[in-house]
């Protein structure tokens, strides 16, 4: 939950509620929102806006696009909320809509999701020494706090991935979608997504190792 929504909702969130209570609360919130209750809609927005915005930002790499993803997602959420069947949590459903919106934007701006493999830099085939990488990552940057410089470096590394690799990495490793869900979202086979994901992980590992070694020099 975001800081904003915590403030807005007051101190009731401090109460530890069970999962079933949470689900019942969520269903009540949805029912009220479907009836047009403005406070319920506001609560839904405040609870989920940060996840939607960050998903948009990571997939599109652009604040303006992320803002559009945010707006289009919630417009669609409230348009379709009466058809929400509660087979999943509301957040999961919203997340899926947001991913769709972001992917549509990426396609429409001709971000070339379907980059032919031969056009990409095949850096996973470039030479690398796994022993060197392993030694580098033994200096776990997370043993201390994730510092600002590292955060910026990692965000840049994600944005510099080709769109197809970025999509696979963000949706699988950061957002936790299954391979099958991602394949369905982007219209590729599970094998193709696995290949994209692996290429993304290898590239990001290289960037991480670069950062660790630069910092330790």
């Amino acid at each position: 939950m975001t800081e904003d929504s915590k403030k807005y909702r007051g101190s009731s969130d401090a109460i530890d509620t069970s999962a079933s209570d949470e689900t019942a609360k969520e269903l009540e919130l949805i029912r009220l929102a479907v009836q047009g209750n403005s406070a319920a809609k506001t609560e839904i927005v405040l609870k989920h806006q940060q996840n939607v915005y960050n998903l948009g930002l990571r997939l599109t790499g652009n604040e303006d696009e992320a803002s559009c993803v945010l707006q289009d997602t919630f417009l669609k959420v409230f348009e379709k909320l009466d058809g929400f069947q509660a087979k999943s949590r509301l957040g999961t459903w919203i997340h899926r809509i947001a991913a769709n919106e972001a992917l549509m934007r990426m396609r429409s701006r001709k971000n070339k999701y379907f980059v032919p493999i031969e056009e990409e830099k095949k850096d996973e085939e470039s030479s690398y020494d796994i022993g060197f990488i392993a030694t580098s990552l033994e200096l776990d940057p997370l043993e201390s706090t994730l510092n600002e410089e590292l955060k910026v470096h990692l965000e840049e590394a994600i944005q510099q991935l080709p769109a197809n690799l970025r999509t696979a990495f963000v949706l699988k490793d950061l957002e936790g979608l299954s391979m099958a869900e991602i394949a369905e979202e982007v219209g590729k086979t599970v094998s193709a997504i696995k290949a994209d994901l692996h290429r993304a992980r290898v590239r990001l590992r290289e960037r991480l190792v670069e950062f660790v070694n630069t910092g330790s020099e």
Binding site: Q50, I130, L146, L174, R201, L204
Partner: protein, 91 residues
Amino acid sequence: MKKESPCLQSIEQLCDVLEMHLGHEAGSEACRQVMEHVRDCPTCCAEVDTLGKTIKIFREIPTQNVPKDIQWKLMTTLNLELPPELQEKQK
């Protein structure tokens, strides 16, 4: 120079192992066999370990707060009441 290792030729299977480490698709015979191999192979072990560490580190990147102007635009578009912290912008 590229390390010639037959282990790394099974990279797709290693991806599956990694998924297993993260709690997905566990239990298959293929996974079990690959896991056995990885346990005994220092190169594969390092490959899986370093990719796992990479994912862990990237997952720790904190998410950004939605900028106030974007929140304001969103709430206005949705015709919703502005939370107190956004009402200043309205004034």
